[in-house]
Amino acid sequence: MITNLTASERRGALLILVVMAIVGLFFAAAGRGDPIALHGALIMVVALAFAFPVMGHLYDPEPSADRLDTYYDDPSKVGMILTFAWAAFAMFVGDWLAWMMVEPTWTTGSAWSSFGRLRPVHTTGVIFGFGGNGLIATSFYVMQRTCRVRLPDQLSPWFVLLGFNLFCLLAVTGYMLGITQSKEYAEPEWYADLWLVIVWIVYFVLYLRTLARREEPHIYVANWYYMAFILVVAMLHIVNNLAVPVSFLSAKSHSLFSGVQDALTEWWYGHNAVAFFLTAGFLGMMYYYLPIRAGRPIFSYRMSIISFWGITFMYMWVGSHHLHHTALPQWVQTLGMSFSLVLLVPSWASAANALLTLNGAWHRVRDDATLRFMMIAAVFYGLTTFEGSFMAIRSVNALSHYTDWTVGHVHAGALGWVAMITFGALYASIPWLWKKERMYSSFLVELHFWLALSGTVIYVFALWNAGIIQGLMWRTYTENGNLAYTFLDSVVAMTPYYIARAIGGLLFLTGALAGCLNLYLTIRFAAPATEALSLMPLRDPVSDAVIQAAE
């Protein structure tokens, strides 16, 4: 893969890696006595591990010019492998956590593996590691095909992909070492946050450059969503992570805002991490892969517009539904609740647009597990957003907040929507990328689908029960007007549901592992594609003709 880079790209890569190694060395040496030194060493090791192979190929000849006639898919391939790897790792941790909530002694007894440290490893691992890699890998894939151009260069996609993975690595190793800002979904410390800002700017510039060179007059809907994902995540990330480090050689920082202002900033971020990371980005994915796989046109271009702008505008108002009845002034809660209800309309419009697109292709849904993944994802997307808007009603939230119902809602979205659409997209792209006829084993895809679906259903039902029982127990009064249950009563009552959830999670994890196996088998053993399936060459005579006629 390195030899595919041009000589100047290789020099650029080496320069970046050397600078990183030096920065890492500096932190490792000067930050001794502080956990930041460990991260300095980690950065250095990672940078050197990439620098040596690059050095080995520094003077190799230039790659052949005909590469420019095809899409640049190497980063997408690596990104998809990483997506599966993070899925396996982070879902394993998730299920481990689930069992710990059943039996708290099922841990190593060392600090790194305690519940509170592993929980953000799970959330970061799934959202950023699994979800983020899936988004980056598919966005490169989708933007080239929907713009009908090759990526503008070969270095910046690698920088984005690998730089992002370095961020994830710093994040999860940090939590295990005790490095955390403790802000939910924004736990990485200041230096990792700064690094992500750099990576993200490069990502956005790469996107703009690709769009600027596009051969299609219009920007496809999928790209609106990917752009919104990149842009808004940048805004959120920067504002929510403002902090003052103890020193430049300390891993610890103190966040700029405090108390109630910090709470709203955090949930403005937190909710929109859901909206623009777990929703907008994946809607982008869905808008490309679902119609391609179904072989059907999008049901309604106009509905796409309504949903897109509705989501982009309204999501940003609703973070306060995470703070109902708290010390956050009530006026903000009112706004959060009102917008959450309106938000249901564009959300359902997206889900409906996806499902109606399948009209005329339901026989394919029946036969093709990959498409079925996407169909189920759209269903769960609709279900989760409905549930979300419902839970955003103050009186409902009074019951659901702080309980496992929230966690059930999270995983209806995370497993049912995010993970399903991602697996669907990966199964659709992998044969195309590796130029295979199809996935090595369609049985394993089918198996994965059923494990994922049953796991999700068990998980979500268990926690709906758990959460509602918990919420009710906390507020049940006896006839005489006294609270009936102690907190501990509610802890004890959760056991059967926690067991069920852990089993559901295990099924889901097993499915993901089947996916990993299938990926490996496909890359190694699947029969090569006989014809260029959907490997649409850059200069495609058919679509060129269409375009010319159109202009």
Binding site: P104, S258, H324, L335, V491
Partner: protein
């Protein structure tokens, strides 16, 4: 409208600007006024800051992820007030950078925990929760007792807190390490300094039961024992007292 969009979607920069505009409104309208509307944070003249030891304990609370299971935010609901005590006020987390309100109650709310249990109970509970609460599913934190508390960076911690707006004096910042030591060792000669610099009611005890060793357990228990006690603001207001 669709015609307009048909033109907009041909311009990457146009889309970029439109997305930024659409996405900026909500946050701006909701967050900015929290800094300008006076009623947002109640007045509490008696509000005190965390001592260095308590701040170090708070850092450990974050490091161990206790906030993943414990909230520190009692909501304005009858059952919450009857179960835990007066609903939380914004001022109570005024010096919390960041706030630790939490979003999940696998364990109970601990906003008003300070003084509820003895130090010894906390130590035993943190070492092995099931030794004191048979059915607990809380993890054990045995290493807190083994680890000496890091105090060399405490001045820096206070200085950073000062930089984000917590009123630590230069004197407090300079003596942070001494004060941490003194607060956990009632027999030491540094106690007077703690008393002089901080509130008279500051807890000065061997929190982990060992006076001459400053462990992470000292810090965490000191923090737990101050929860809900930085200000009396909620006690002045009679809600929930004797109403149960």
């Amino acid at each position: 409208m669709f015609k307009l969009h048909y033109r907009l979607e041909r311009r990457a920069i146009g889309m970029t600007l439109a997305i930024i505009c659409a996405a900026s409104v909500g946050g701006f309208v909701e967050i900015a006024p929290l800094f300008t509307i006076d009623q947002t944070v109640e007045a509490a003249p008696d509000m005190r800051v965390y001592t260095p030891l308590e701040l170090a304990g708070r850092n450990i609370y974050m490091r161990e992820g206790c906030y993943a299971c414990h909230s520190q935010m009692i909501r304005t609901l009858r059952d919450e007030v009857e179960r835990y005590g007066h609903y939380s006020l914004a001022v109570e987390s005024k010096y919390d950078h960041p706030m630790l309100w939490g979003s999940k109650r696998t364990g109970p709310d601990i906003a008003p925990l300070g003084g509820k249990y003895s130090d010894e109970w906390h130590v035993r509970h943190l070492l092995n929760p099931r030794e004191v609460v048979r059915v607990s599913i809380m993890p054990s934190y045995a290493w807190l007792m083994d680890n000496d508390l890091r105090i060399d960076d405490l001045s820096g911690q206070l200085a950073a807190q000062h930089a984000v707006g917590v009123p630590y004096t230069p004197d407090m910042i300079r003596h942070a390490a001494d004060d941490a030591y003194g607060q956990a060792n009632p027999d030491s000669n540094r106690v007077a300094g703690v008393r002089a610099r901080y509130d008279d009611n500051t807890n000065i005890r061997a929190f982990d039961g060992i006076a001459d060793r400053l462990t992470e357990m000292d810090a965490l228990v000191a923090y737990l024992q101050i929860l809900g006690r930085l200000t009396d603001a909620s006690n002045l207001d009679p809600v929930g007292k004797d109403l149960e």
